[in-house]
Amino acid sequence: MEKTKPIQGGEFIVRDVDPSDVFIPEEFDEEQKMIAQTCQDFLDTEVMSNLDDIDNQKDGLMRSLLEKAGELGLLGLSLPEKFGGFEQSFTTSMLANEIMGAGHSYAVAYSCHTGIGSLPILYYGNEEQKEKYLPKLATGEWAGAYCLTEPGAGSDANNGKTKATLSEDGKHYILNGQKMWITNAGFADVFTVFAKIDNDRVLSAFIVERTFPGITFNPEEKKMGIKGSSTRQIFFNDCKVPVENLLGGRGQGFRIALTILHMGRIKLGSNVLGAAKLSINRSVSYANERKQFGSLISSFGAIKYKLAEQVIKTFTTESAVYRASKNVDEAIEQNMQNDTCTKEQATATAFAQYAVEAAILKVYGSEALDYVVDESLQIYGGMGFSAEMPVERGYRDSRINRIFEGTNEINRLLVIDTLMKRGSRHFYDLFGEAQKTWDNLDELIDNPSTEEDNYSRYRAFINNVKKLSMLLIKAASDKYQRKLVYEQELLNNLSDIIMNLYVGESTLLRVMKLEQMKGSEATALYRDILDVYLYGVSQLVRANGIEAVDAMGDFPENAKVKKAIKVLCDLDGINTHAARRRIADKLIEENGYTF
């Protein structure tokens, strides 16, 4: 496999990566930890004691919480200093997002404001627009929101009907249309609104202030979860938007929307981490108190299984989240070396470059969190079903993550679609490598790796999964060609393999790096996590691989590919039961997540 620096988004599929190439959360510096602590202190003192009032949408509360975060500077982490921000790295903003992610509805308001609410103006605004809006957004004097979705345009975001026409005097765009599911709509002052100018087929974006004439709001949506997050429909009736509020040029809207979606997806990956760790803490502390049959329920194997799986899902998500975050930072730096490019452009480009990873983190993270909150509730038994218990709120609040920022169905499709597109555009040699693998199929099958040492064995396994993914991609694209998009089940098989490949590799590299940093003894439990997870990946790859091959039916070398799957994905011989128990025992002993 080729090896040239630096790694491109999606390139992990063809490239060997070393532990020294990835960033791991154990490498956060003192300042980053201090910022995280500030977020935690803020959450503990202002948010966690107010969850009921927040969920009841107590008048002015959410808005005042945003303002308080603004006073601490936490709304301006990603904004330039000259606009009142603190220009922190993307990785640092992800860490802040992780901590805030434990804040239930507040987490949604915060990440909407600091992400989709502020960043379109930062990345695509001109100097006047930035000067006018960013300082206010940085302090929380103004709150931000993002209006893409419409009744007829959800997943199909480009299908919006909202129209913009130039007024006769050429001074205003007149907006007409309807947006729905708009987070922070109840109190936001500034909205990025997507609409089509005249008969354009493509979107444009506008900065719209709440006080512009012609805007009305429906009452709050009644929701299953994140009840404290404001969500409303917005109507534009001849809403007059000054022409200077067009964002990024006519027809740039879809590009803006996509960049912001990529960014939002990666960030969702960090958000779920905070929520997952909180949920784990809740489950273990309950399991350490509740007795049945004369024993603490935390002593039962079935409960330990759940606790360990919660840890594994969270730890693996975390490994992938911070690996990708650092890659984005590196890409920003790389892009800036092209000196015609501003930092904002470099950042927006970096998000697009890491679209595959963003979609992976979105799907994997939201599903990990859903597992965690579901099992937390289960560990509480009947108490978990009580609306008085915090795990019940956690369960309801988690669910939205699989829906917004692009549903998980859409994102699963994006993982494989974007990976292949970037391959076709030669950001990496996907199809060349796939062909090579194809040509060496016999050799591959006849020479399964015989590595003894676990890390070597796992690295060989990960490499094999890469090869296998390439085999399947090649088989599928050869067979279906342009009609591949209609084979969603097959694409889902591929996506599931690739997602778990990325997360598995990220976890492997993290544990290897950790061992280099802390020695073998201190890393024992991390190896347990790795063992159990990769074992699961091997099962998953095999199941999806075989399913894909059987569904494709006859294609050249069908039998060989199937055999390759069986030979290449074998990771038998791991005692996952014992490993899970050790992971759970540590959690139980610490009575909290300390991994």
């Binding site: 003192e30 300042e31 930890k33 201090m34 910022i35 602590q37 500030t38 202190d41 803020f42 003192t45 006073e71 601490l72 500077g73 936490l74 301006g76 982490l77 603190f86 007795k291 002993e589 610490e590 009575n591 909290g592 300390t594």
Partner: protein
């Protein structure tokens, strides 16, 4: 006017205590360190005094006795607003050792007011403040829950049994403070965190000093026995349990 706040670097209050070396030492692996909560409140009050334009306070220094591992705690104090910091590069062995180090590090710096937390949340020795005052030959007033400045005069409020006491004193002085001295500790803001990087943190070598004590043995309290539920119908059973088992009546 210059204020000094002493800072203890202590394990986070939610840390699970573990012992090492035959229960003679606290096992500090994996511990999350924080500013001793009483010291943190003292620092908060020091910042309030400095920020109040009516006071002539122009400088707040923090001092800690600790190894490099204590630096995150010190940076946090700088991020909260202290102007500079001194770290005496030594493990804080016991109260006497710590007090001598602090006194030696600051004796030539003419601090007008020294605020120390009444105790630390790890060993709860409640001794350093008084010792520092003695070593610096300063007045010390303990159990202080309020400090106000008026020119060179200081007014202190103390909680005493069943009431409170107001004391007037001259500076310089050591005020040994308890909860109530400030409402809530401050959360370092981003601006403070960014500035903390650039503030002076002076590391000084420890002076020759003996610890007067050493730890022989630590043990954890017995785990709480499970709660017994008694039917409201059976008051006599409750009385009997309280009398014979719990032996409290």
């Amino acid at each position: 006017m210059k204020i000094l706040v002493t800072l203890g670097n202590v394990p986070d209050t939610t840390t699970k205590a573990r012992f090492a070396d035959g229960d003679t030492h606290l096992d500090m692996t994996g511990v999350q360190w924080i500013i001793n909560p009483w010291d943190e409140l003292a620092l908060t009050r020091a910042m309030e005094l400095k920020e109040d334009a009516a006071n002539p306070v122009d400088h707040v220094t923090v001092v800690t006795v600790g190894t490099q591992e204590a630096e995150p705690t010190i940076r946090k104090a700088l991020a909260i607003g202290a102007d500079d910091a001194i770290r005496v590069n030594a493990e804080a062995k016991d109260a006497w050792f710590t007090a001598q180090q602090i006194a030696a590090a600051v004796k030539d710096q003419d601090f007008d007011l020294i605020l120390t937390g009444i105790e630390s949340s790890d060993y709860n020795g409640a001794a350093v403040g008084g010792m520092v005052a003695e070593l610096l030959d300063l007045t010390s007033i303990s159990a202080v829950s309020g400090v106000e400045l008026n020119g060179n005069e200081i007014t202190l409020h103390r909680d005493i049994d069943g009431g409170s006491e107001t004391v007037q004193a001259d500076l310089p002085l050591v005020a040994i403070v308890q909860k109530g001295i400030a409402k809530e500790p401050r959360i370092p803001a981003m601006r403070g965190i960014m500035m903390a990087r650039k503030k002076p943190l002076q590391v000084v070598d420890p002076v020759e000093a003996d610890a007067l004590t050493s730890y022989n043995h630590f043990e954890l309290p017995q785990p709480k026995p499970p709660c017994k539920m008694i039917d409201p119908e059976h008051v006599e059973e409750l009385v009997s349990l309280l009398q014979n088992e719990a032996k409290v009546i």
